[in-house]
Structures are given as C-alpha cells and as structure tokens.
C-alpha cells in the first residue's frame, strides 16, 4: 500500500529544485535522499511503513568516488582518443581502455546501487541487505554480452534471468534470504514472440512483453515461505504509460511527481505477498555497504528498487 500524494512530492520537488539551482547542483544528493525518505515512509506493508536510512553525504561521497574511479579516466581516455594529436595506436589503446571501463561500469553500478539501497531500507526496524559479489556480476555481464552477440540477441532473455537471479538470490531481509526460481527458457518464448510480432503490432507487443517479464520476475521471487504474486497486464501497463505520457507532455514535465506516484501505486496494486511470512524467525543482521555503486548508477539509473 502506498500513501504518497503527488502534490506533496511536487512541493518537495520544487524546494529541492531551487536549492539544486542555487548550489549549482550540490544539493542534488540531499534532494534525492529527501525524495527517497518520503517515498519509503509512505509505503506500507502489513500496517508498518518502510524507512530509508541513507544520507546525502554517503551519496555525495559515493558519486565522488565513482567520478574518480570511472568518470575521470573515461573522460581522459576519450579526450586522448578524440581531441589530442597523438599516434593512431595511442588512440586505439585509449579507446579500448575507455570502452572496457564503461563496460565494467554497468555491473559495478548495478551491484553497488542494489547493495547501497537495500542496506539503507528497513521494515519493522529490520534492515534489508545485498551480499552478492561484484566480480560475479561482471562475469555474468561478460558471458551474457558475449553470448547475446554470438546468438544475434536470442540469448538476451537468458542473460536477463541470470542477472535477476543473481540480484534477487543475494538479497536479504534481516537474516532471511530472498529466492528466485525462474529459468531463462520460460522468458525465451515471450521474447521470441515479441520479436516476431514487432512489425505487425508496430512495436506495441513490447508493452505486453514488459508486463510478462514483470509477472515472471515477481512470481518466481520468494522470501522464506512467502512468495510474491504479480498480476500486471499489458493492457493496464499500456494505459498507465499512455496517461503518463499525456500528463508529462501537456505539462512540459511538471507533472513528474504525480507520474511517479502513479507508477508506484500501479506497482503495489498489482503486487501481493502470498503465504505465511515467519517473522519470528527473522533477525537483524548488520551489513556494511558503501555508496559508490549507488553514485555510479545515479547517472545511468541502471539500479532498480525491490521495495
């Protein structure tokens, strides 16, 4: 259940924007934290609200780290490649380094963002956490990208499921582990159908594919003996997106907070946790998590939220 109101979020957004402008962007991290606190605090499950514990300082430091580790080297290499007057071999080397850094960046950002966000979320005072290793994710990305390329894209659903499996099955609520039981071949069928029907449906089939994917991901996710159940349909998703697009276009983006609230409401309306959740068994377990990956994905938004 979500209690958030677009108007309140809009108010937060207006004040945030002013502060971002006058601080030349530095307030961005405080703004983001404030919005997350609000959204978590308005989300209720079984009578209790979620809480977000992240601080803007963590986000700022995480982003600075990301800029030093990835941003600056990539910029420097691109600069050598495109602007400086150096031999062609140097340019090729610079291009390869820059390309590899960007490639590695994605898995690092996805894992880092998930680790940070989950570790800063709690429900009933129990923290979530993510304990997967970045290196595992990099391996999944290298293998997935390679096989997707070799099979001309047909491997992509397997890659997606591998990623989802890794992300979900290393997530914890306190001491309780999330589980994921989906197999790549189950998503393969809808994926092929979507490709085949792209032309006849002018691409609209992909909305149904996204709905199918969401159902597939959630329906195969469980927490202990309780499992998630998602009943989002392609038609409902299309309706949501169309209205969102109209709202955004007609208001030149000002309706953004309402759109965000609509999206969250839609997600929770179509999502349920079925079966007994043995709360007595769950204990708090503190985990350390840096915010570098979180800062990284701030630029690319490749992370996604579980709660």
């Amino acid at each position: 259940m979500f209690h958030g109101i677009g108007g309140t979020l809009f108010g937060i957004h207006v004040v945030n924007t002013l502060l971002i402008l006058v601080t030349l962007g530095i307030y961005y991290f405080w703004a983001k934290t404030r919005v997350r606190q609000y959204l978590a605090g308005q989300t209720e499950m079984e009578l209790d609200r979620f809480a977000y514990h992240g601080t803007a300082k963590e986000l700022l430091l995480g982003t600075l780290k990301a800029v030093v580790v990835f941003g600056l080297p990539v910029l420097l290499m691109n600069f050598v490649r495109d602007v400086l007057d150096v031999p062609i071999a140097m340019k090729v080397i610079a291009g390869v380094i820059s390309g590899s850094l960007i490639f590695v960046f994605f898995p690092v950002a996805v894992v880092g963002a998930r680790r940070y966000r989950l570790s800063r979320m709690s429900w009933r005072g129990i923290r979530f956490s993510f304990r997967g290793r970045v290196w595992e994710m990099i391996k999944i990305f290298i293998l997935g990208t390679f096989l997707t390329g070799v099979t001309l894209g047909l491997y992509y659903p397997f890659f997606l499921v591998d990623r989802q499996h890794f992300l979900v099955s290393h997530s914890y609520f306190g001491s309780e582990r999330f589980g994921f039981t989906g197999r790549g071949r189950e998503l393969f069928g809808p994926f092929v159908v979507a490709i085949l029907l792209t032309l006849p449906t002018l691409g609209l089939i992909w909305v149904w594919y996204v709905a199918r994917k969401r159902r597939f991901f959630w329906d195969h996710t469980n927490l202990g003996s309780a499992r998630f159940s998602c009943h989002v349909t392609g038609g409902a998703l299309l309706g949501l997106w169309l209205v969102n697009a109209v709202l955004l276009v007609c208001t030149v983006g000002i309706a953004w907070p309402w759109v965000r609230v609509r999206n969250i409401n839609f997600t929770y309306r179509n999502l349920a946790l079925v079966g007994p959740l043995d709360l007595a068994r769950i204990e708090q377990q503190a985990q350390k998590a840096g915010s570098t990956g979180e800062g990284l994905s701030g630029f690319f938004d490749s992370g996604f939220d579980l709660a």
């Binding site: 209690h3 109101i5 309140t8 108010g11 957004h13 207006v14 004040v15 945030n16 924007t17 002013l18 971002i20 402008l21 006058v22 962007g25 961005y28 703004a31 983001k32 919005v35 606190q37 609000y38 605090g41 308005q42 009578l47 209790d48 609200r49 809480a51 514990h53 495109d82 602007v83 400086l84 007057d85 429900w123 009933r124 005072g125 129990i126 923290r127 306190g174 997106w241 969102n244 697009a245 955004l248 276009v249 030149v252 983006g253 953004w256 709360l279 007595a280 769950i282 204990e283 708090q284 503190a286 938004d301």
Partner: protein, 364 residues
Amino acid sequence: MRTDWEGIYLDGRTAARRSATIRLMREGIEITPAGGATQVWPYRELRQTQGFYSGEQVRLERGGDLPEILLVSDTAFLESLHETAPHVGPRFHDPGRRRARIRWTIVAAAGVIATAAAIYFWGIPALAALVAPRVPVTWEESVGRAAIGHLAPAARRCGDADLARAMDEIVRRLTAPGPPSPYTFRVSVVNRPLVNALAVPGGYVVVFRGLLEQTATPEEMAGVVAHELQHVLHRHATRAVIQDASTGLLLMALTGDVTGPLAYGLQTARTLGDLRYSRRAEEEADTEGMKMMLAARLDPAGMTSFFERIQKEEGATPKALTYLSTHPLAADRLQRLKAMAAAWTGTPEPLLPGDRWADVAKRC
C-alpha cells in the same frame, strides 16, 4: 494537555511489533512495551526520521546502527511533545508549521523560475564566453580535422587550382587587415548540390558547390566566407558545445531523474534552448563578418545582395532552404547589415580583378 499515548515499539533486533503505552515527560519519554519493562528515552538521545508530512506516522529512533524505534500514528503527539517539553525545539518536527510550508513552496517555485531564467539568459552564455577562449586551438583543430573528414572527404573536394587560388585570395584579403589569428584558415569546396556553407572548429570552412554556383560576384562569396570565418574566430562551435551541455544540466536539475519518454521531450526542450544561442551566434557572425568586409575594403553590397537573393528564392527552389535553415534570415538581420553598409564611407577595392567570377564559380 495530553501526556499519555499509544504507540508501537520495535526493538531493532527482531521483526516483532509490540504495542506500547507512552507518557510524555519534561526530559524524556516513558515507554512501556506490552509485556516489557518501562524505560525512559531522554529527548536528547532521540531523532525523528518520519512524520514530517501529512499521512506519515511519527517515527522516533534511539541508538546507533540498530536503533530501537517508537512509532506513533497520531501527529497530535508531536504537538503535545512540544507543549510538554518546549526546550526540545527543532529536534522534533512541529506540525503547526505545515501551513507555512505551502507559502514557502510557492516562494520557492517563483525562485526556481527566476534562478533558471538567470542561468539560461546570463549564466550559461557568460560561462561559455569565459571558457571557450581558454580551449587550446590545437584541440579545436584536432576535432575539426575529424569533422572535416566526414563533411568533406577528399574524394568529394573540388581540386581545381584556379578555384583554390580564388578562395585563398578571398581568405587572404579578409584576414589581412585584422590582428594575427591563431588559426590557419582552409576553405574547401565540396561537390554537393547543397546551397550551404559551414564552419568547423579549428579554422576549416566548408562551402558546397550549390552555394558557390549561386554567387554572382567574388564579393558575394567573400560575404559568406567572412560570416563563417567569424564563427571560427568567435569559437561559436566550442561555445555551442559548452552551452548545449550546460542547458542539458539545467534541464536535468529542473525535471529531476528522468527516464523513458520524457527524456525525448527533454531533448526537444534542449534543442529549443540551444536555438536562441545559435541565433545570437549567427547575428554576431553577421555583424562581425560585415566589419571584416569593410576593413578589407570589399564592397559590402556583396554580402547583402547574396542574402537578399537567397531570401527571395526561398520557396522557389527548395535547395536554397538549407542555407536558411542553418542561417535563419530574420527580417531585421538584412536590415542591420544594409544599415552598416550604408554607413560606410570608404571606397571598395576590387577583389580578384583578373578573373571572370562566373567562370570560376563553375569550376567544381
């Protein structure tokens, strides 16, 4: 004043949810969880993490990494807390201030509009004007070389020696009176029917065959080249890159985290935003180009007559449109140039007196 409240106590170690009775006191809160011992939480050890907005429960935390938590759903609890212990001050949110918040939000909205306008109209151009002259010319040349490889590949360039000599002479005449420039200007004529010309950073100017054939005199060609040389000298391309990136950042700040369809909408806004800057750059290239013509003692009518003809042909020949699409001819643009030309009291000296321009212009 109400001092006794009901709430929920979470111990921070298990997910158990226990109802608790609460009593507000002067120095702290007395909490008795169901089936547990009474404890006192001093105000100074507490922090409030939720309950700032309507519909949000009040959440008080105590302790470090794994805090104990007290939840009270009635916001009136905070009012009582402030009455019981007025000295706690802003440590706890005061719901009475929520009305003022609406007023502040409206003020902030006005502030956003004013600040964004100031940044767009003044801040970004000032930043570009400050940074662009400090970009080394060798960087611009390197970027320009890559761009020229795409725009004017060697196979497409007109290699005619007389034409090249004529173009070199035009550049020499135009640049001779001015101060020495860090750029080496190179004008390439490209064998494409487009009626257009453009400047690439680092001193490269590209003229398409279509435009060359439209010019009636060398002075008309000189007018076009002078305009493009001014783009190079004023580093308009470098400025455009800085301005485009800054406009993008400004829009990002205004709209928050944007993904999906809105991102495309934003791209449109960004392009529209850049349009104003590019129009100003065109105006600057016009007036500075005209000054360049006059300083070189070239007949200023060459510049205006070419623009005039192109403008008349707009619609008649679709080909002419390409020049106008990148060089919008605002009504006052031509007027201003004509006024500058009329105010000039010098006598023009001929350009390329030995050649018949009509022949040269066909050499591609």
